[in-house]
Structures are given as structure tokens and as C-alpha cells.
């Protein structure tokens, strides 16, 4: 074999290798990997990676490998838009997972919707996300599905007559949680003694808590992120305010206990995921996550893990042609039909109705788990 033939063969082999790679299924992942929202974004990215690695290890989807194009949207609206544009127009992904915060989804979602690319949020729980358009999906259970159950369970357990409310009013997620709480309290006819607010970055809540204490409520309803909620609990106990808390989705993080220790005893929280849920799918996820990342998974990782399984189930039913617009449309068509049973339990989509009255994007159709905090841990509430 002379040198020229060798070169030719090598070139041919390279070409073959390249054409094999062309069968990859490129999925965009736009999550907050730095900045304040990274405490949610990083476990989410891990959840995607874990699921994709497992799927690829089993031979991929119809012989094609999942390839994740991971971008950091920093938890910022502007950055989320930039990253979405890069993933859609430059990386030419089939669909996008993310962004992390509802705020960012409100900004970047319309970009994907206009480009007819699926934007699949796994952690956006604010109201109105899926109303933005038919290409917006999420498997994160909305506050409006969880909170009525949380509130009525806690009210029954503690025989609550009146509550005080505190929330972060400069964040789409906590504000939307507050709106839902407000409606739930009206529906369940529970009087509110006072409504207090704070802004992101606040670490001193004693002024508001002192005021709450003076109104003598039976419980404190709080729509806030875990960090703030934990500090709130510690400061409430420090002021001699001993009533239980009732929390929104932001409480769902092991971070809550690192600060609050036992200050959060008796708190009621609803969650789409239970780490102690004994189903094989969940136990497998918890163990695989621990083995791969050396840390405990949280709800956000579980939802991301399930979201990747949902996408994989949809991709399995379509034939990838290589025509990007057609393939993206096929993904969009296949996703709503997916029903799986994953780490977060049985899952299917429910189509939402847009502001114009037409059918829009898709929300999660899933039942929440109710937890109570005992001995500094989330314990599945069983009625006692």
C-alpha cells in the first residue's frame, strides 16, 4: 500500500466517522450554572447528564446518541435569551431544556416559540409559563396544583384559624407563589392577619417578623426560596415566634436544614418529588445520582432526570430525517403524547389555554407529595 492510498483510506475513515456522528441527537441545555440560581441549575444539569448517560449506555435512541449542548444562562433574563439564540441558530439543537428560573423562561420562551423549537422547563413553576405558546413545555408541577393541598392539610392538622403571610415581591417565582397562596386562602376562607414582603438578597427579616408576631397568627405562610426561608425560620424562633410555617415550592431543598436546623420543625411543604418514594424508578435514580455526583439529589435533579426520559420517549417515536425544521416539528408533535412513570411518579402532559383562548403549551399533570419537617428532615405526611 503506498502512501497516497493510505492517506485516501484515512480520509475515507474520517469521513465515515463524521457521518456516524451526524446521527447524534443534539439537545440544548440552558441552565443557571453560575450566580445565585446555580444552586438549582447545577443539580438540574446533573439530572440531565445522568439520564442522557444512562440512555447512551443502553445504545442511545434508535441507535442515535444523545448529545447535550450545555450552556450557562447565569439565572439572568438577558443571558437566557442569548443562550437560547445560540442553541437554536448556531448549535441547531432539536429542542432546549431550561432555563432555570421562571423569570428567564418568560424572557427566553418567546424566542424558542417564534423559532418553532420546543423549550422544555423543568423548574419553572410560575403561572402563565405555558400560556406563552404551543412550543413551551414543562414537567415542573405548578404551585396552583400543589399549594391548595399543602394548605388544607396543614390547616386540618394544626386547626389553624388565621395566618400571616410573608413573601419575596421582586421575583417571578416567589410572587407567583404568593398569588396562588392568596387565592387558596380566599377559597378556603382563612383570614390573613398581615402580609409582609422582602426583596432578594435581604438577610434581616426581624422587622417583618416582629410585626407578624404582634398579630398573633396560628401559622406563617411563606413564599420564598430555601435560603431566605431558612433564615426567616431561625430569626422567627430568635424572636420567640413559635408557630409553624407553611411553604411553597422554594422550600424544597435540603439547603433548608443547613441553616434552619430544627427551627423549621412542623413546617408543611408540598413537593412533586419524594426522595423516600420507594418506587424502583425513584430508588434507582437516587442511587445512581449519589454514585455519580457524590451528593444527595433534590427535586430539581429528579425533575430534570424525568424530563430527559420524557424527551427520550418522544424521540423514540419519531424518525430523524436530518431536515432540522421537520425534525424539530416532529419532536413538538410527539412530546404531548408521552406518558411515563419516572422518579417523580406517573407523569403526563396537560395542554394549557393561552391568553387568546387558543390551546397553548403544556403543563405537568401530576399529584404532589405533602411533607412535614420532623427532626430536621422532610417526612412524608401520613395524617399524624
Amino acid at each position: 500500500m503506498n502512501r497516497a492510498t493510505k492517506h485516501l483510506l484515512f480520509a475515507a475513515a474520517t469521513l465515515l466517522a463524521v457521518s456516524a456522528v451526524a446521527g447524534d441527537l443534539k439537545i440544548g441545555v440552558a441552565e443557571a450554572l453560575t450566580g445565585g440560581a446555580a444552586q438549582y441549575g447545577v443539580p438540574i444539569r446533573n439530572g440531565f447528564q445522568l439520564a442522557a448517560d444512562e440512555i447512551n449506555a443502553k445504545g442511545g435512541i434508535n441507535g442515535n446518541k444523545l448529545v447535550l449542548v450545555v450552556e450557562d444562562e447565569q439565572g439572568k433574563k438577558e443571558e437566557a435569551i442569548n443562550v437560547f439564540k445560540k442553541l437554536i441558530f448556531q448549535d441547531k439543537v432539536l429542542m432546549i431544556f431550561g432555563p432555570t428560573l421562571s423569570n428567564s423562561m418568560f424572557a427566553a420562551g418567546p424566542v424558542a416559540n417564534a423559532a418553532k423549537v420546543v423549550a422544555f422547563g423543568t423548574s419553572n413553576t410560575a403561572n402563565g409559563i405555558s400560556e406563552m405558546g404551543p412550543y413551551i413545555f414543562r414537567n415542573s408541577v405548578m404551585e396552583s396544583d400543589v399549594l391548595p393541598v399543602t394548605v388544607s392539610t396543614a390547616v386540618k392538622h394544626y386547626k389553624i384559624k388565621k395566618v400571616a403571610v410573608i413573601y419575596g415581591n421582586d421575583d417571578a417565582f416567589t410572587k407567583s407563589g404568593y398569588d396562588v397562596f392568596k387565592k387558596v386562602l380566599e377559597d378556603q376562607k382563612i383570614p390573613v392577619t398581615t402580609t409582609e414582603t422582602y426583596v432578594k438578597g435581604d438577610v434581616d427579616f426581624k422587622a417583618q417578623l416582629t410585626k407578624i408576631k404582634a398579630t398573633n397568627p396560628d401559622a406563617i405562610i411563606c413564599s420564598g426560596l430555601a435560603e431566605e426561608a431558612a433564615t426567616l425560620m431561625v430569626q422567627a424562633r430568635g424572636l420567640g415566634l413559635k408557630v409553624p410555617f407553611i411553604g411553597g415550592n422554594g422550600f424544597n431543598s435540603p439547603k433548608l436544614f443547613e441553616v434552619s436546623k430544627t427551627a423549621g420543625e412542623g413546617t408543611f411543604v408540598g413537593s412533586p418529588w419524594a426522595n423516600t418514594n420507594p418506587t424502583p424508578a425513584n430508588q434507582h435514580f437516587v442511587e445512581a445520582y449519589r454514585a455519580k455526583y457524590g451528593s444527595e439529589p433534590n427535586q430539581f435533579a429528579a425533575q430534570a432526570y424525568d424530563a430527559m426520559s420524557i424527551a427520550a420517549a418522544a424521540l423514540k417515536t419519531i424518525k430523524v430525517t436530518g431536515n432540522l425544521a421537520n425534525d424539530r416539528e416532529a419532536v413538538h408533535g410527539a412530546l404531548p403524547k408521552v406518558a411515563i412513570s419516572g422518579a417523580t411518579g406517573p407523569f403526563k402532559f396537560r395542554q394549557s389555554v393561552g391568553k387568546d383562548g387558543k390551546p397553548a403549551g403544556y403543563d405537568a399533570d401530576q399529584k404532589p407529595f405533602i411533607y412535614v419537617i420532623r427532626d430536621g428532615k422532610f417526612v412524608l405526611f401520613t395524617g399524624k
Binding site: 450566580g35 415581591n169 422587622a207
Partner: protein, 293 residues
Amino acid sequence: MLEQQLVNALTLGSVYALFSLGFTLVFGVLEVINLSHGAMFMAGSFAAMTVVTRFKAPLAVGILAAMLVSGLLGLAIDALILKRLRARHAPHLIPMIATIGATTVLTSAAQGLFGVEVQRFPDELLSTREFIFGSVHVRALELAIVGIAFLLMTALFLVLRHTRQGRALRAIAESPKAAALLGINVEGLFLATSFTAAALGGVAGLLIGLNFNSVTPLMGQPILHKGIAVVILGGMGDIRGALFGGLFLGFAEVLSKAYLSSQMGDAVAFGLLFLILLVRPAGLFGRVLERKA
């Protein structure tokens, strides 16, 4: 409820004052708005946390580590950035922007080194002792913050008033050129000031990190904004101003949250700040600078 709110205001005000001490010192001497002070605050917290968790050192060593690491970082920023800008007579805005850059580098480095998640001090370090006077609850740590804020302020004030170095610093604040002509080691004192201010920032970060038991790479940002307001209100560069400005902001914020609405806390605090500046444009303790020409 009022007594408790007054105590709340005193502790919050002391937190602001503690942060603003170093911030205002740098401005007073170097005439630089050093926006990396928030990063010094963060670095102090992380330094202390590292020595107490990794090396199981006692808290006193943690305080020293906070002062040393933040101080050296402040020194490095001065030597690497501010000194060069001084040598080129860069206008005021340039060092301010440069310190924003330094902040970005330091917070990103902290995110890389320590991760993005909130870090905690070990339980045994945190004193949960609390004092109850009638209806008022105060934690020991909060009392310590109030005490240390007053103590450091007094110490700094006395040093500036009654020591040779203090007089030299005040001479520099008046006119660096004239001070140099008098044989004062201006560059040396600039470096010493940057070190001291950053070290004070580091201690503030440690105490506040302990108090709220939350240490993150971004912890310096929200308090930096309040710190700027405190320094402007107190009179740029005035040590007493930092204390009174901090307390003023604390009281305005807490009392408006308590008696108006919690939405109004910042609005009232900053509205009052605006009104005071209308009456006293140089702040509570500031002098209106005359043209130095």
C-alpha cells in the same frame, strides 16, 4: 413591639456601619470608590470558614485569617490596579470601574474554588445564646456585632486623630502632593490604608456571615449597595459618618417596615437619604470641598 423593633434597627444599622467603615476609609484617603469592598467582605468570610472547617482552628484564628486574607487581597488590588492608575492620574471613574472588574474576578474565583452553593459554619461555632429582656429577644452574636462596630469605629477614629500615622493620613486626605513634599511616605500609607480597609471588610464579612450563617460568593453585592448609601449619607470618607449613616439607614428601614409597609422599607430609607442630601449635600459629617486649585 416597639422595643423589639428598636433593637432590630440597632443590629441592622450596626451591620451596615461595620461594612461601611473600611469603605469610607478608602474613600477618605485614596479618594477612590472601591467597589471591590463587597468582595473583601466575601473573601473574609470564606477565609475564616476555610480555616475553621478544614483545619479545625478556633474562631479567633478565623478572625485573624479573615483580616489577613482580605487585607492582602486589598493590598494586591491596590498594588496591581489602583497604584498604576494613580501613577497615570486617571480620573475618578476609572479606578471605580477597575474595582468592579476586580470584584468580578474575585467572585468568579470564589465560585470556582468553593462552588456556587451557600456554605455554612459548623454548628459548634455558632452561639445560640440569647438574652430575653421582657418582650425583647437579642442573640449574643447580634450584641457582639453592635459592640464590635462601635469599638472598631472608636479605635479607627482615635488612630486617625491622635497618632502620627493618623495625622499623616489626614494630611494625605487633604492633599497627597503636599503630604509627599512634607516627607510623608504617601504610597506606603496608601497601601497600608488599602490593607486596613480590606481587613475591616473581611471581619465585617465574617461577623455577618456568622450572624446569618450564610456565606456565598455573591454575599457582598446587596450590602455593597447599602454601603454606598451609608457612606454618602455619613459624608464621604468620614468615620463617624459611617457609623451614624449605618444606624440611620437601619432605623429608617426597620421603622418604615414596622409602621408603614414592608414594601416601603427601601423606599423610605432612600427617600430620606435624598432629602438629607438636599439639605446637607456633603452628608451628615462631610465638608463641602472647596476647589483645590
